[in-house]
């Protein structure tokens, strides 16, 4: 797949991430008040230290990866349709998040259960559908009535 060793790639990624943090992320998204008396007490001191260490470790990984003979691709790198299924799963998660406050946790969970079960090509489709109906309801009963957690109910159908 690639000429570079996987570890070298990870190392390069770490270096880039560290640089990104130092140059873009920390100056923009960490606010530090102007009256900081000492640099080591500043809110940005710790993130900068960590970014620097990340870069050092990244360089270490890059170098050792270059000389490493460790075989890091013991698993099959490519599974037919793997990326497609992962993409669908990502969409399922986004819909899940979107549906929680709107549809309610119980109904969204039922849909997600079915979607996931078919995505992993379950060998017991009928059991999966029955479970998809029961599991969210039972969990709702437990969390809402035993543990008295305010499970999101959504805008449409309200459970007792």
């Amino acid at each position: 797949m690639q000429n570079l060793h996987r570890q070298t790639l990870i190392g390069l990624f770490a270096v880039v991430a560290g640089l990104f943090l130092m140059i873009v992320a920390i100056p923009n998204w960490v606010s530090s008040p102007s009256n900081v008396r000492n640099i080591i007490l500043s809110p940005v001191f710790w993130p900068y230290t960590l970014s620097a260490l990340t870069i050092v470790i990244g360089l270490g990984l890059t170098v050792t990866g270059h000389f490493s003979s460790e075989d890091m691709s013991q698993e099959k790198a490519e599974v037919p349709g793997g990326y497609g299924r992962l993409a669908i799963m990502a969409v399922v998660m986004v819909i899940y998040m979107f549906g929680l406050p709107r549809l309610g946790m119980v109904w969204t969970s039922m849909l997600a259960f079915v979607a996931t079960a078919f995505l992993v090509r379950t060998s017991h489709p009928r059991t999966a559908v029955i479970c998809a109906l029961c599991v969210p309801l039972i969990l709702y009963g437990f969390f809402a009535h035993v543990a008295s957690v305010a499970i999101p109910q959504g805008n449409f159908v309200r459970l007792p």
Partner: protein, 325 residues
């Protein structure tokens, strides 16, 4: 677009439902958000009143701790909730008068909430470790002048943080922010521990948080902020010391909803609170922890909080404590 049609129909149904519900509110359980963690002063106070309050309401109250950012996470959750009276907040001195006074970037203001009551007042007390050679406020102020005095708090922008600065300011310390070091901790328990193990010199916090340490002889109270002495605290009051401005420095717990809850809902809460606060078991267990039960009407509660906020805001501006980032 089936979905659009479906949601349009549902929206109408919900519209009808809300119209009907104003009269027979509450027809389902009410979510009560506690913006602080389980076991804290707010949590215990809220769960203690939930018992008699639930009876008065006639519906169950679902208590939900939504913690984080000094009460801000839970407060925002209620601010953004539907103003139907089914999501209410246990507001506290830290989340609703100190935080708005100190933090410029706070994602809410006092105007985002409508208070239906304040039901508990909790005096503040200042204390030092028992073996310390500081025996009075005068000793403490003298020590501050020498330098090396620090005070702990449950975090930046907490009631304890402001209390420490306010007390020093009232006692005439010049530039209290630099004269004494503020050492923030994570949570009220850690703040007390910091004084016990010598990390910090003193702290000012709710008397209920200190009561057991004073009773056990581990800590020495220096003063309480009320007019009347507090049971169990052998220390002068702010009135005795001639600092009436410190009377503003009290903890409180109240109940608030989003800004646009209807007058009917607010009125109902007024009735319920009056009924709940009459419960003897509730009163005795709260008083055992050093609190004063004083149920305020919605108007009184708003005025009380606004006044405290203004006092704190003036102090914060004077000392330059406002957090802009």
């Amino acid at each position: 677009m089936k979905f659009a049609k479906f949601s349009a129909v549902s929206a109408m149904v919900i519209g009808l439902a809300t119209a009907a519900s104003a009269a027979d509110y509450p027809e389902r359980p009410i979510n009560m958000v506690i913006p602080y963690g389980a076991g804290g002063a707010t949590d215990i106070s809220a769960r203690t009143i939930a018992e008699p309050l639930g009876k008065a309401v006639g519906q169950s109250l679902i208590m939900a701790n939504v913690t984080g950012a000094g009460g801000a996470t839970g407060s925002v959750a209620v601010k953004n909730a539907k103003a139907d009276g089914y999501t209410m907040l246990f507001a506290r001195v830290g989340s609703h008068s100190v935080n708005p006074a100190m933090k410029a970037t706070l994602p809410y203001t006092l105007d985002d909430f409508r208070f239906v009551t304040v039901y508990e007042i909790n005096p503040f007390a200042c204390a030092v470790e028992a073996k310390s050679d500081i025996n009075s406020m005068d000793d403490l102020i003298a020590k501050v002048a020498e330098g090396g005095v620090s005070y702990s708090s449950s975090g930046v922008g907490s009631g304890l943080h402001l209390a420490g600065a306010m007390v020093l300011d009232e006692f005439g310390v010049e530039d209290p922010l630099n004269a004494a070091t503020h050492i923030p901790q994570k949570g009220g328990g850690a703040a007390v521990t910091a004084v016990l193990n010598g990390t910090a010199t003193f702290l000012c916090t709710n008397s209920s948080a200190l009561a057991s340490f004073v009773a056990n002889g581990q800590m020495k109270p220096l003063m309480v902020t009320t007019k009347e002495p507090v049971v169990g605290f052998d220390a002068p009051t702010a009135a005795d010391l001639g600092k009436p401005a410190l009377h503003q420095l009290v903890g409180w717990t109240g109940i608030a909803g989003p800004a646009d809850i209807s007058d009917e809902v607010a009125a109902k809460w007024g009735e319920w609170m009056a009924a709940a606060a009459g419960d003897e078991e509730f009163v005795s267990s709260m008083e055992a922890r050093g609190s004063i039960i004083d149920v305020m009407s919605p108007e009184d509660a708003n005025a009380f909080i606004q006044e405290q906020y203004n006092t704190f805001r003036a102090l914060v501006d004077k000392l330059g404590m406002r957090i802009e980032g």
